[in-house]
Each structure stands twice: as C-alpha cells, then as structure tokens.
Amino acid sequence: MKILVCITHVPDTTTKISFTPDGKEFNAAGVTFIIGPYDDFALARAIELKEAQGGSVTALNVGLAETEPTLRKALAIGADDAIRINVNPTDAWQVAQEIAAVCKAEQYDLILMGRESIDHNGGQVHGMVGELLGIPSVAPVMRLDVVGGLATVSKEIEGGKEVIEVNLPLVAGCQEPIAEWKIPNMRGIMGARTKPLKVVEPTVTATSTTVQQFSLPPAKGACKMIAADNVAELVDLLRNEAKVL
C-alpha cells in the first residue's frame, strides 16, 4: 500500500499565542514547532498499516525550509521518505492544490492527514484534496482498517460514531483514537538523517482567502471563589449574576 501522510508544522499545544503589535503576523519568537497532533495520529496509523501489510509511507509538508526539522521528525517516527513543497502556505485552497498536484503524479492508495491543523483550525484540506482528485474523503476518522482494496472506517458523528466502508483510493482526516502517538527512538532519529527528503517547487499560486487581522480574546476577569460549605451561594450566583440557569 502506498500511503501519503500530510503533516502540518504548528506551534506546540502549550504555546502562549501572540501576534505582532499590528496584528498582521503570528509571533513565532521562542515558539517550539511540532507535527500537528492530529497529523501525528495519522502518521502513527500509516506506519502501523505499512508494518502490517507492506508498502511505503511518504510524509509531505507544504512549507518553507524552516519546516524540515518537522519532516525529519516524521522520518524518525517511521516514514520512508519526505516531500516538502517549497512555498509559504497561506490558505487551505493553495495547500490542497499543491498536495493534489503531487498525488496526481504519485497515485497513492491512502492519503492521510489530521482532521484539522491546530493553528488555523481550517479542516478544509482533506475534503478539497478528495474533490480535486475525484476520490472519496472521510473525516474525522477514529479507526481505519484496510483489507485488500477496501477500507473500513469509523467516523465520529455527534454523540457517537458511524462505520463506513469505502474502496481505495481514499483521503482520511484523522483523529484519536486511530493509533497511539509514536515517539521516535534513537535508531529512528539517526536513520532519519539519511532518508530522502525531496524539495518540490509549487505549481499553483491561487489562494481564495487572505487573513487581514489577528486578534486575541479579551482578558478574562478574576475567578470568584466560593466557600466549599456554601454551594447555595454558587447556585444563587449562577441564577442571578451569571444568569446561566
């Protein structure tokens, strides 16, 4: 099975988010970048499928040279090779077109990625890539099994899950508990240095959206503390002050 895993290069989940004073750009000073947690789940499942059934796992990122350590991490975790599409990603439509262009040439059986990136939370790329390639897409996928050319997928729905059967090729936007995150071991890290990482120039420039301004939510007021033996006061505050009951 030939598997592509699209990974995002995003701020660590503990990052305190801030922007440049004019609100035009993300303030990346001192920020640690990671493989998107949802993409990390997708990568882990891809490697499990390869280990069980043979084939290959390629990790792909649309981004400039600064994202290469993140791709190397994917190689250390177990991807066989990596592709970086050398362009600054500014919207989902641009990223999806770039990914679709690679997929058209490579004919993957499975194209996995996270359900969404944790920076812009767009969640658009899986569906767009599926549509551009004329193949089905499913998200958010919590379980993925493949037998022959048939995938059995468990997809989250409100308050539960739905089991779906679909023939490959398939695009899946993944989330837990599809697989456990894999932590690279020393051998993986050493091996990753020499695994192929191909840089591809972009094919399209079209975007359909532009960010005009970033902002932070208003600061939260102080927490009002209530004595442990006085829950009646809490009920009163919820009813008459917060007016949520």
Binding site: G123, P140, K161, A228, A242, V244, L245
Partner: protein
C-alpha cells in the same frame, strides 16, 4: 446578497441548522437584503414550510428514492446542485461533523472561498466579504477576506444570537439530484449513538469530570448533576484514554470544542489543551481540591474542595 443555507436533520431539523438560518437572516438584514433559500437532504419530521418564519423564500428538499443515505459525498452533491439552481452569493452551514467534512469538497468543486469556524456575522468592505474565525483552538481570532464571488461559511454555535422566527410559511420544492457512482462511494454500515442524551457539541449546559473523580465507578456524581440540570456530560482526555468515558465526550484541543452557557469542570486541572476546548463557554465553574490548579485562572466561579462532597451538595441545592 442571496444566501443559501444547508440544513441537517436528525429526525427533525437540527437546532444548529436553525441557528444557521438565523445567521443567514441577520446577514441579509445587515448587508441590505437578498433572498434566502434553504436546502435539506433526506427525510425529516419538521414541517419545512414553517421555515418561512426565518425569512426563507424557498426550501429545496432532496428526498426522492435516489436518496438512500445522507453522507459526506451525497450531501456534497446535493449542495452543489442547490448552488447551481439558486446561484447564491453566500452559502451558510452550521458546523457539524458532516458539514466539516463536506463543505471543503463543495468549495473545491465550485471555486468558492471557504471560511470555517466563523464566530460572528460577516462584514462587507468595498465589496469584499470578511468574517471573524476562531483559530489556535479558541486561543485567537482571525479576520479573513473571502476573495471569490461565491463564499461558503461554516458557523459556530452562538455566531448569531437573539432571533425569534415568526409564523410565516414558505414554499417547499422537491430537488432531484442524480448521484454519480463516486457520489455513492461511501457505504454506511451502521451508527453507534448514545441515545436519550443531550449532544455535547450543541449543549447549553455541560458537566465535565476529570481524573480527580478517581474512576468510572464514581461517574454517577457527574451524570446525576447533569440530569438535574438537563446538561450534557463531558470529560478530560485522560478520562477517555483510560476508557472511563467514551471518546465522544472528550473535550479539548484534540477533542470536542464546546461553547455552552455553563461549563462545570469537576476534578479537572485545567491543562492548556483542555482549556482550548472550553474557552468559548459563557460561564465556567471550577471545582478542584488544589487551590493552585490552573483551571481557576479561566473559571468565573471556583470552589476549592473535594468533588466527592461538592458535587452531591450542588446537586441537592439545585433540586
């Protein structure tokens, strides 16, 4: 601005879909009028004519024999068809697991500019439609310009508030959609759904438990309080990782994002990844035995104490 609204039904038209209609109505009002059309796929018990109360001029209903299953692929086909017929400037959908997966396909097929996670009404600046989106998992916002003549928005709960439908009625037309082979690529093998519970993503009140509850055998404390309040139940990630509770109750960075009026966090430390999923709650109550727990930094009301004592007392006080 002509607007098309995609509706979902889970028996009757979903509450979130009615909010999408309210959003469309308010948008049309703010941007100088325009026709509102609604489209829905599959059976529903709702009297669709009554949606006229939301200012809808026409409802397109795709529900003929061809429609065996409403899924990502078939509903994308329905929406594409409805766009072709009604030629809107703007398409509005309420965020849901179906819509999140389907809207991007429709955008790619139609060349529309898509904004997901929209939290407020759009504004029109020199002909360019701009929307506010929630990003960094609730930690920030972005104002995004949509540079196409067709725009698609998926809107979050609470994006349009304070709208009451009137008693007007509207016409309902049957929409016939011919599904291609690839539209029928997905075969549903069945769903597993918690029955009789309030759905977490749409809930107005949420009672949530963390590792401080010590084990699944103690969850009665959470469910009893939820029952008294008519609230949905939720949990932190370790709780679902440990299988104390089902995964679909897990709230946070990698789980469900909620935006209720009231979120009660019991025995939850308030890790940044948990808070990411609850930060758009109107009011947060924290119950934790550790006065230094970070949850108190984001809570509106806090009690330092033992969940095993506070939860039953709170339940009693509410009865």
């Amino acid at each position: 601005m002509n607007i098309l609204v995609f509706l979902e039904s889970d028996g009757s038209v979903k509450k979130s879909s009615l909010e999408a209609l309210a959003y469309a109505h308010k948008t049309a009002e703010a941007l100088g009028g325009g026709a509102i059309t609604a489209v829905i796929a599959g059976p529903t018990t709702t009297d669709l004519g009554s949606l006229g109360g939301y200012g809808v001029q026409k409802v397109l209903h795709a529900d003929d024999g061809a429609f065996v299953q409403v899924d990502i692929m078939t509903s994308a086909a329905v929406l594409k068809q409805a766009i072709a017929i009604s030629n809107p400037d703007l398409v509005v959908l309420a965020k849901s697991s179906l819509v999140d997966a389907m809207a991007p396909r429709v955008a790619a097929a139609t060349g529309a500019a898509l904004a997901t996670n929209v939290v407020d009404l759009p504004v029109l600046n020199n002909g360019v439609l701009t929307v506010k989106r929630s990003i960094y998992t609730g930690k920030a916002f972005s104002d995004v310009a949509l540079n196409a003549t067709l725009r698609i928005l998926t809107v979050k709960k609470g994006a349009a508030t304070g709208f009451e439908p009137n008693s007007a009625t509207t016409i309902v037309e049957s929409l016939s959609v011919s599904l291609s082979g690839s539209d029928k690529a997905l075969t549903s093998k069945g769903t597993e759904k918690a029955t009789g519970e309030i759905l977490l993503p749409e809930a107005d009140l949420v009672v949530s438990g963390g590792r401080g509850l010590k084990g699944p055998e103690n969850w009665g404390l959470i469910t009893d309080l939820a029952k008294t309040l008519g609230a949905a139940t939720a949990c932190s990630k370790p709780v679902s990782d440990l299988d104390w509770r089902p995964h679909h109750e897990h709230v946070g960075q990698t789980g469900i994002k909620v935006s209720p009026s009231l979120y009660i966090a019991a025995g939850i430390s308030g890790a940044i990844q948990h808070v990411a999923g609850i930060s758009s709650s109107k009011c947060i109550v924290a119950i934790n035995s550790d006065p230094e727990a970070p949850i108190f930094k984001v809570a509106d009301y806090g009690i330092v104490g033992d969940v095993f004592k506070i939860l039953p007392a709170l339940n009693q006080a509410l009865k």
